[in-house]
């Protein structure tokens, strides 16, 4: 199915109403992807408790179609919630590469953004974007569940801008993001 869609821009180039088909296909695909972003239960430290709080009753994320999935194979978004230590960097990379293709990363909390309160520690990675491309950063230590929700809204806007002409690549990959081991 993905293969047919990759050929669609080429096919519709010559047809009279070609662009109309492309834009409607884009709109439908992006709507589908936007409304069902499935994160992976991947809590590292204190931000994980806030993430659990956001799946709970008051900040219910199921409203936006966000259900936490246990296995990386079925997840679209990886929320890196907490301090990324050097010993944990290896498993994170492995899990990132197990996720199927249109995947996104939300770096939650100042520890994941740039090392946070552990800026000078010998065993903390100064920001998860040193090993995997990050789509949305959330400031705060730990950021409030509303901030995580706003990050999902921002991610949805980013997903809505993906289009077939650019070959279903995620916005991050279009900019040729630095994926060390891609």
């Amino acid at each position: 199915m993905g293969m047919i869609l990759e050929k669609l821009p080429g096919i519709t180039k010559g047809m009279p109403g070609g662009d109309l088909i492309l834009t409607t296909a884009d709109a439908l695909i992006d709507l589908g992807r936007k409304q069902s972003l499935w994160p992976m239960t991947f809590g590292l430290a204190c931000c994980a408790i806030e993430m659990m709080g956001s799946y709970a009753a008051r900040f219910d994320f199921d409203r936006m179609g966000v259900i936490p999935r246990a296995s990386p194979r079925q997840a679209d978004v990886m929320i890196v919630a907490g301090t990324v230590c050097k010993k944990m960097a290896e498993p994170i990379l492995e899990i990132y590469h197990q996720m199927p293709e249109p995947r996104f990363v939300i770096s939650m909390g100042s520890c994941a953004n740039c090392g946070g309160p552990y800026y000078d520690s010998y065993s903390v990675l100064k920001g998860v974007d040193r090993i995997i491309p990050v789509d949305v950063y959330i400031a705060g230590c730990p950021p409030r569940p509303e901030a995580l929700q706003y990050a999902f809204v921002k991610l949805q806007e980013k997903v809505a801008k993906m289009s077939l002409k650019r070959g279903l690549a995620t916005p991050q990959q279009e900019k040729g993001s630095r994926d060390l081991t891609a």
Binding site: R33, Q35, R63, A70
Partner: protein
């Protein structure tokens, strides 16, 4: 030494546009609490409601059309046969077309059910857990959530893990869902509204329902992942051992109805005791309730749902046998689970709740067409499935096996014995 250049005059910052009209701060209609205070004024909400209403009317209309046309099923077939012979086409072609129509109708029941029950489960589980299920997906209470999930899963990258055995990995989902679709052939959708009227209906259904365990084990073994191997083996043990009580709990129903044919079983439950209580098998004093409960528990175990969801226990085996599946292959597993739940609820409605028959003999109830009664009973049983899932914790593997072999099976044998006594003395 030239004097440092004066800093370029920066353009003054634009005046912040406050939400102010002629001086008064406008109550921002976009604030969520206001927005959902009176939702009907929202365009998205109204359009969503209209779309949903259109879809529901379409499905009900289609159902009613098929319900009515099925009454003249034989005449239609005769008409087609006559037309075919006039044109010189062989009757085999007519049969093929006739069967194709029925298969398409039943297949659509299963697929539409997939859409409906996944959304329904997420809404019910949310309201049980004092939260609000998907609301933004289709504008009106998130009705399009499953469609969005479907579109996204359709376009996910299809990963086959390197350590996996390619063919077995790709074939497993097919083997899980194919028997379930085939098992829907004799299932009753209303009084004598079934795709195929088999006189060995019950046996046929249980035979096909048993094949899916091969697919699950294939998925478990072929994924090359230790967790899915464990999940696959657990699933095999569980499904095979719960086939027995499920089969034996239906034997009293067959003894009372006198035949394996589902429609005969449904008709055997028509009529009313003392003019009020419907003669459903579930209301037979002791035998009915015990058989109903054993069949319900065994069906829950058969469809791998909590409290028997050991194969895909999220907290232990990460994802169970479908850990390594992504995108469309995984959603086939997901669809198969809900198809089996639908199959189980239709069987429960047919065996124990007098499928198609109306619970009260008076006028307004009997005028309701039989397929609406059948659908409402099946949906009620599906609600019980969902309700059990979100309240009970999970059993351990050996407890689950002990419960089956040491509790369910002996009770189903005792139930058959008591049913025999009923036949000998009461139902002569």
């Amino acid at each position: 030494m030239t004097a440092p250049k004066p800093a370029p005059a920066k353009a003054p910052l634009p005046e912040p546009v406050l939400n102010r009209k002629n001086g008064i701060l406008m109550a921002d209609r976009r604030w969520p609490t206001d927005q959902w205070a009176h939702p009907w004024s929202l365009p998205g909400y109204r359009n969503g409601a209209l779309m949903l209403a259109g879809i529901i009317l379409g499905i009900l209309g289609g159902g009613a059309l098929i319900g009515e046309l099925s009454k003249w099923g034989d005449k239609l077939y005769a008409l087609m046969a006559a037309f075919a012979t006039a044109k010189g086409i062989s009757t085999v072609a007519v049969d093929a077309v006739w069967v194709a129509i029925k298969v398409l109708i039943v297949l659509h029941v299963i697929l539409v059910n997939g859409l409906w029950s996944i959304w329904w489960e997420r809404k019910i589980s949310a309201h049980i857990q004092s939260r609000v299920g998907p609301t933004y997906a289709g504008g009106f209470h998130g009705w399009a959530q499953t469609i969005c999930d479907g579109i996204k899963l359709f376009l996910k990258e299809d990963i086959t893990p390197a350590a996996a055995d390619h063919w077995v990995h790709a074939l497993a989902p097919a083997i899980v869902i194919a028997p379930c679709i085939a098992a829907f052939a004799p299932v009753l959708f209303g009084t004598d509204l079934a795709a195929a009227r088999l006189d060995v209906g019950t046996l046929y259904v249980f035979a096909f329902a048993g094949i899916s365990v091969i697919g699950v084990v294939m998925a478990g073994w072929a994924s090359g992942n230790k967790y899915s191997l464990l999940g696959g083996l657990r699933a095999a043990a569980q499904i095979v051992s719960y086939e027995l009580p499920r089969g034996f709990s239906v034997v009293p129903v067959i003894m009372f109805a006198g035949s394996l044919d589902l429609s005969v079983i449904a008709d055997a439950q028509s009529g009313y005791w003392w003019g009020v209580a419907p003669r459903w098998f579930v209301f037979y004093p002791v035998v009915g309730q015990v058989a109903f409960l054993i069949f319900l528990i065994a069906s829950i175990a058969e469809t791998n749902r909590t409290p028997f969801d050991i194969p895909e226990a999220e907290s232990e085996l990460v994802g169970g046998f479908h850990t390594e599946y992504s995108g469309m292959k995984w959603s086939v597993f997901f669809l198969a689970e809900y198809a089996y739940v639908l199959l189980a609820s239709f069987l429960l409605a047919t065996f124990f709740l007098g499928g198609g028959g109306s619970p009260l003999p008076w006028a307004p109830f009997t005028l309701v067409p039989s397929w609406i009664w059948m659908l409402s009973k099946a949906m009620f049983m599906m609600f019980v499935f969902l309700w059990v899932r979100w309240t009970l914790p999970r059993l351990r593997v050996d407890q689950l096996m002990d419960f089956n072999w040491k509790f369910l099976l002996p009770w189903s044998f005792a139930n058959i014995a008591v049913a025999g006594l009923y036949l000998a003395f009461w139902l002569k």
